[in-house]
Each structure stands twice: as C-alpha cells, then as structure tokens.
Amino acid sequence: MTQQLKLRPVPAGGSLIRRLSADRPARPVYVALALLVVLGWLVFALDGGAFLSQENIVGIQQRSAALGIVAVGQTLVILAGSLDLSVAYLISLTSLVTAEIMAGSDTGVPVAVAAALAVSALTGLVNGLIVTRLRVHAFIATLGVALVIRGALDARYDGPAGSVPESFQHLGYDRIGPLPVSALLWAAVAAGAWLLLSRTRLGYRIYAVGGDTEVARLSGVRTERVVVAAHVLCSVCAGIAGLLLASRLGAGAPTVGTDGGYDLESIAAVVLGGTALAGGRGGVAGTVGGVLLLAVLDSIFNQLEVNSFAKDVVRGVILVAALAIYARRRRTR
C-alpha cells in the first residue's frame, strides 16, 4: 500500500455518545418497544398476569432467540444491498444436518456443529456468487436457492430425523440465572455483528456497498467479495439458528424453518428496526429492537389469547405503519 499519511489518534471526545447515536435509525423502534412494554404491563395487570414475571421474560427471550439470530444475519445482507429468502429452508437443512450427525451421541456434537456451519457457509457462498457473478437479482437468486434446498429436503426427508443428545439440549433449554442460554447465544451473535459493522473494514464496506455499489467499487472496494461475505455470514447465522432449533426440538425437522416463517419475518424484523431495505443505512441495534418488539407483541397476544388471524392483521398493520413513520421522519429531516 502506498498509504503514507501519518495517522495520529486524536482525543476521542464524546465518541461513545456518537457511536451510540450512530445507529440513529434504531431510536423509534426502542421508543415503540418501551410503549409496548408499558402496554403489555397494563394488559397483563388487567388480565391477572404478571408481564414482568420471570417466566414471561424468559419466554420472551426464548421466543425471540432463533428469529433474532436469523434477523441479525439478514441485517448484514440487507445492509449490503442484498436480501436472503433462503434462510428458512437453510434452517431446516442445518437442523437436520445437526441432528443426523449427532444421532443422539455426545461424541458427534463437535462434528455436527462444524458440519452445520460448513453447510450454511457453503449455501451463503452459493447465494453470494449467484448474486455477484451471475448478476441475478438477490430476490430471484435466493428464492431459487431456497427452491433447490427445498427439493433436496423433500427428496431426502419426510419428517423429523436424527436426534440430539441430552448434552446438546442444554443450549436450547438451560438458563444461567434468569437468562436462557439461547438468549445469550443471540446476544453474542448480535454483539459480534455490531462489532463487525461498527469496527471492522468488512463492516464499513458492507455499508459502502449497500449505499452505492458503484461508488464503493470506484473507491477501491472489492464489492463482490463484500456481498459474498455478507451472504456467507447471513447463512451462518441461519445455520446457528438451525443448531439452536435442533437443540430445542431434540431432532432435525424439514419444515421447522418454513413453519417459523423465518424468511419474511426476519426481513420484517430488520426493517422494523429502521434498516433501509435498499441497503447502506441501519444496523444491528435496530434489528434487536425489532425482534424484541415482535416478541413482546406475541407475548401480549398470548396473554389475550388473540387468534392467529387477528395477529396477522395486527402484525401487517404495525409493519406498514412503522415503515410509514420511518419514511416520514426521513423526509422531514
């Protein structure tokens, strides 16, 4: 490199505050989350339950862990200006890979985890290469890959398969104090992604490529590698979610990903968190807020025993309303 400029650190005044507010688009989702928590507390109080009880809080955490992990990955690809519709099938696939390799034995655990992550990384690589090399729009590329995985699943599995040893189920069921291990896993993934985005070159370049691919390229960023890397990371997140679900279900299931609706729901969580669908703006903090928002909403629905059709209506309205508010904020700024 011919980089010869002297780089002297300057006193980093107020940089923490700056960094916290760097994820500015996330603010509304936390305001909404706070309001919803108050609403939840009211609803539970009137309905004779305790919203802030340990069971309920643990429930919310566990409910959000898998979606949360997928959504963090989805955030990375969306920030890079892409999209991944294949995560749902990939989750099913990795849950099966995990459970089949473990086959109920403790010794299989490391191999199974490695294999599940390898399979997902490979899927991400394929997604990324189709998007960058073959120049297929991510919507179609990942939809196509999703179909391919679905075909493989349909052909090979006709129901839950494999089994997960007791030891691995700790991941899905144990708690450390009030914190479920699964929620800690989610927190770790989110923190890792946050660090990646705010502190590493790859993170910077993900924003750059999502903001404007041509500008990034002309500035010397190898844009294709960045998009591929984002896809690999996203798929690995889906793979981790697959591991988590395998541990919770005790087996692999060919429909666990699609039944969970992880593809569209993860995208919904990401945009609820203020990340622009077009890429280049937003962050993980918002996504975490978005996922929590959906989980708290679910918890309130559960308490009120709202039927699933009404839930869909409410979710749809909230999604559109939230995005309308974001659009308005952006315009009036």
């Binding site: 189709i130 073959l134 120049r135 297929v136 729009h137 919507f139 179609i140 590329a141 939809l143 196509g144 890959v145 999703a146 179909l147 391919v148 679905r150 075909g151 493989a152 349909d154 052909a155 569209l264 995208i267 919904a268 945009v271 669908l277 077009a278 039927n307 699933s308 059709f309 009404a310 839930k311 869909d312 209506v313 409410v314 979710r315 749809g316 309205v317 999604l319 559109v320 995005l323 309308a324 659009a327 308005r328 315009r331």
Partner: protein, 310 residues
Amino acid sequence: MRRALPIFVVLAGLLVAIAIVNPYFLEPPAFLAFVKRAAPLVILAAGQYFVIVSGEFDLSVGSLVTAEVVIAARLIDGSAEATWPVLALMIAFGLIVGLVNGIVTTLLRVPSFITTLGMLLILSGAVFLWTGGSPRGALSEQFRQLGRGSLGPVPWSVLILAAVAAAAVCAMRAGFGHTLVAAGDNDRAAALSGVRVARVRTVAFMISGLSAAVAAILLGGFAGVSAQVGKGLEFQAITAVVLGGVALGGGRGSVAAAMAGAFTLEALFTLLNLYGISGALEPAVQGVIIIAAVALGAVRFPRARAAAAS
C-alpha cells in the same frame, strides 16, 4: 421486443419438448387445456408486470386471490342471483386493495416490498377472521362456469386471457404505458417531465389488484372454494415476470414477455411432470432453471450497431 426474444425461444423449445413426450399436446384440445391451466398465472404475471416495470413489487396478490375466492363463496353462498353482483364486487375489491397498496407506497413512501407484505398479512388474517377460520358458503354454478366451462371448444378462461392480454398490450402501447415505464426507469426525470409518478404507480398497483381478482374468478371457477388457492402465487408471478426478462427495479421489459414468462413457467411444470420429476425434486429443478434463465438474461450480448458519438 428484441430484448424479449430469448423467452419466446425458450417457450417454443419447452413446448416442442413437451410435444415430443406427449404428441397430443399440440392438438387443439390438449393445447387449449394447457392455456386454460396457465391462464390465471399469466394474468397475474401481466398484472405484476405493471407493478414491476414501474419499479415496485406486489407480494400481496397471492393472499388477495385467496381472499377474493373466500369472500365470493361466502357472499354468493350458492345463489345464482348473487353471482353477477359479487363478481362486480370482487373486481372492485381487487381495485381497492391495489389502490391502498399504491397510496401507501407512493404517498406514505413505504417500500412496496413491505407495503404488500403487510397487505399479505392483513388480507390473509382479515378474511378468515371474517369467515371464522375457514371458507364458508359456496360458489354458484354460474360463477364456476367462467373457470370451468367453455364457449364451444374454447374455454372461457382462454377467451378472458386473450382479452386481458390484448388490453395489457394496448395499455403499454398507449401513453399510460410509456409514462409507467418512465416512472420505473427514472422517477425524478419522469416527474420533472410532467409524469404523475404517484398516480401511474398507484394505477399499476390497481391493475395488479384487478388481475388478482380476475385470476381469483378463474381459479375459483376452475377448482372451487379452498383456503389455499392463492398460496405461493405471488412468488410464481414475480418469477414469471423476471423470467420474461423484465428487470426488477423497473424501466425495462415488455408485458408480452412477462406473460410469455408465465407460460414458460407453466410449461416447465408440465414438462417436469411429464418426465416424472414430479414431487420431491421439482422445486430443485425449478430453482436451478430460474436462476440459470435470469443469469443468462443478465448477460448482455454484443450489439453490432455503433453507439452514436456527437
């Protein structure tokens, strides 16, 4: 049209391949049956084309189709007199859903991916909330005729498809079509040239809603009431449009090619079925072919003609 050529070649190739396995395929009755089966998807693809070429997405058409059929069944409840008013109501409902999608997208500036995803949730929830979980009532025989019956040898759906295709091509040839493509290509330039971008895009969503209503009429007629008539149709329609060489993001591609894309998809299903790749591996083959087709379409072939220099 030049850009649309590949899809017609692919379609012709597929039809020939089907005909080789099944020699009767190209005889009128079998071919008309094929067209009849393809009609709903082709109509949906035509509607989706208007939205995509204007630079947007419509993910709500699948659940709109389901909603339309369920609503029709409950309102008609087997009565012949109710048929025509309910048909009119279905059309109106499709237009209104499109109008809402359009207004939310253009005036509230919600990305259409999200607007229509929200609409998908709302429609699928609300309609079953209304009917108490599963479809009620029944479609009348008159209603069923449109999707099931035929005028002489030609099924009604084929006639309706022909009319829709003609209307779509005319709309794209007219000023409206050009302004729509302009909005999709560069909405700021279009707006500064006097194009009412919000309005033409909203109309595009309404056309998509209308096409979903028509598809619902045909599908409900063809196979009767079911809670999942529209399942997955939005992805199929978008895939068909993209297969036809229409660029996601807008501004490029023709409606004829989009409809050809839908026929191609339908022919592909038929062919896979004929070769016994039904069931398990069908999605895999479909996925590979779609990626391949779009990838090949994205490769630009050198042109002989020189670009002008001033």
